[in-house]
Symmetry: C2
Subunit: 431 residues, 2 copies
């Protein structure tokens, strides 16, 4: 009745198949569990996965009246996001086996839409930079990116159609790009963060790892009560602003080629592409402000752990905490003000364009598992609070995925998703 | 050696006395515990207080080398703020006896400065409107205000010199004004919120209940690493903007008199006072946006409790959650945009004035314990994210405290505190 293995279905396909009665939740869950069984020893995407709990949930869903946009959809949850029925380990020995009292807001909202919370995905230590054991599904000698490593891999490797993650620097879009999935960071403030371990509170944003743009739209609408995306919007004449950014010189050949190829093919398909420049002051303002804000806020979210478990914190995180605790408030406030000036200048950047096209990453996933890669092409937009999405449209020189990034103005999330789907349709999947 | 009972000392006085060795932490703690013993059956400020734990902490502090701006200072903590060694009950049966894993950021930072976390203070249910058992220390038939009820009362009634609370609408400044203490809400985003139960995340702000402006400055500097306030700043010629706001018609006689008297006496003392008007569009924009943002965000922070314990949630909170879950995202985003337009117009309001003088509350604490009072004079500024402080300068027709509110531009917190201290010195304490 369904032409593909169930674990390969998108979230929308699972929900439709379950709702119409063509399959039940248990069958979908079993297919995903089998895929995990086959692949987990190589990719190590999960920090907690209890097949019995998955199947119990699936049977419970099968026994209930079906309803909700994500009915029966298995969802991976980054392990800094609280779940009341599974431990939340934060990628740190300090929280090994920790059982939160309640689900995070996003988890409870997904469950209310019928989602099956499948397991917890590996995160870097406290969503910062010290990596877990996860490997890139395309080449296990390479990083999957971080910090939402397990969420990207679980979706890329067809273990679940949907996973949630967080981005404070580049923690959604970088692993999505390295692993070859769609990574979507909504506008800052749209997705409620209750029950998520704080990294840097003025930057932390929840988002989605999926294999289709449609799934990103469904998942985000489910938790934010958004109107459905009007996909036809993007079939009007479209103008894309090519925004190389001040970071362009740091882009590797495969990223330059991905962008150049996208421009050429979009133009060939009738999309207007023109240059869009960030104001010159962005470069200095954002790069110095980022470290200051990140360290100042991160240090404050970690004071209890810093006081009680200093020896269980990695050196990289310790350095950030130490810096943050020493940072004078005035320096933090100056950094916030600098970023605010950039945000205020954004409308002019978007003037006359529907969205910006910009690199997702410097290049393919680097070799080795110790370093999760360069955050700068992603963190630029995290700081600006804009909605942003990476699409796995290209393949690099080593045969690994390379994403392209689309960015829209604040709160134009549905507009961004409509454009992203059209662009993805036009360019197709890389590789 | 010290001329007043120890429980009446300010935080600054306690820290100085302990640091110089004139008293030890245990003596201060015992004096505060005795005061609680005398008064708690009437005012019911505490949801958790274990005298043994207090004394153990005091002895531990006495055994250590003294250091930190708040060494030995007993601090009350609103019961929506996590503490690793005391339950955090959220003012709800759902969280009775709940033991969080870690201290909230602000608690850990206060402890790092030598503060003695004394106990948990009564909060309205999840920092919303359903009150706890706390009574107004000036008249036990009247509300202390909410939702930071216990924190205001514990400080007003000389049980502790410092307590922390949160404000999403008027939850710091209203109880402070009703109980006759200084209530200080820093600029949104200055005090880290990790480990605090979310109410509405774009509005929630941590702040301080104290008896002196100096203590507000010390406490805030301790957790934000701010430079000390330059108190002399406010001894330059000062211009205060009298901002009656569109809510003035709802102010009762005692509030009008408090404001009029303040204007007259400040002018008499050489302060320039001139009218400052909020743009006309603020009234409609802010009042409709508030309910929308509050319900939309609050509902999302409460989905787990709503799903698992609907019968343990008060009717008032249920109504807010139900509204919030039904609110379309577009309506929420429009409300955010309306508030953003007001924030963008604020610099002009502050043009040429050092701070605004505006009512703290409609009037004295209302009779009865069921309703914690009108939030509008406070929530106006919470929405604008400005730093704001209430000073207990006046007494109303029923002999109860009436505060006046001073407001400064975003991040001008130290400036606000300097002005507040000068104004408080000039006007004196009410009653």
């Amino acid at each position: 009745m369904i032409d593909r293995p169930l674990h390969q279905l998108s979230a929308a396909e699972v929900a439709a198949a379950v709702s119409s009665g063509r399959v039940n939740c248990e069958a979908v869950a079993r297919a995903c569990l089998e895929r995990v069984e086959q692949r987990e020893s190589i990719v190590r995407a999960w920090s907690f996965l209890d097949p019995d709990l998955v199947l119990r949930q699936a049977r419970l869903l099968d026994a209930q009246p079906r309803g909700g946009a994500l009915y029966g959809v298995p969802v991976g949850v980054k392990d800094v996001i609280d779940t009341h029925d599974m431990p939340t380990g934060m990628g740190s020995p300090i929280y090994r086996g920790y059982r939160p009292r309640a689900d995070a807001s996003i988890v409870a909202l997904l469950r209310a839409q019928g989602a099956l919370i499948f397991g917890k995905t590996v995160t870097c230590e406290f969503a910062f930079v010290a990596p877990g054991p996860t490997t890139n599904p395309h080449d296990s000698s390479r990083t999957p990116g971080g910090s939402s490593s397990g969420s990207a891999v679980a979706v890329a490797d067809y273990m679940v159609p949907l996973a949630i993650g967080t981005q404070t620097g580049g923690s959604l879009l970088r692993p999505a790009s390295y692993c070859g999935v769609v990574g979507y960071k909504p506008t800052f403030g749209l997705v409620n963060r209750a029950g998520v371990k704080q990294a840097a509170e003025s930057l932390d944003t929840l988002g989605f790892m999926v294999r289709t743009v449609e799934d990103a739209a469904i998942a985000c609408a489910a938790v934010t009560n958004a109107a459905p995306v009007d996909w036809l919007l993007a079939h009007r004449p479209l103008t894309i602003g090519l925004c190389r950014t001040h970071l362009w010189d740091g882009a590797q050949d495969e990223t330059r080629q991905a962008i150049d190829d996208s421009v050429q093919r979009l133009a060939g398909a009738g999309v207007t592409v023109r240059e869009a420049e960030l104001p010159a002051f962005f470069a200095a303002a954002l790069s110095s402000a980022r470290e200051i804000i990140n360290d100042y806020e991160r240090a404050r979210s970690m004071v209890h752990e810093w006081t009680h478990h200093p020896d269980a914190i990695s050196e990289s995180l310790k350095r950030s905490i130490r810096n943050g605790l020493l940072t004078p408030r005035a320096r933090f406030v100056d950094a916030l003000a600098a970023v605010e000036r950039c945000r205020a200048a954004l409308p002019a950047v978007f003037d006359g364009v529907d969205a910006l096209l910009t690199p997702s990453v410097a290049g393919e996933a680097p070799l080795g598992l110790e370093w999760t890669g360069d955050h700068r092409f992603q963190s630029l937009w995290t700081m600006l609070h804009t909605p942003t999405i990476t699409l796995p449209t290209h393949t690099g020189l080593q045969g690994l995925p390379v994403g392209i990034q689309l960015v829209a103005p604040l709160y134009a999330d549905n507009h961004l998703l409509a454009i992203a789907r059209r662009v993805f349709d036009l360019l197709g999947r890389g590789g």
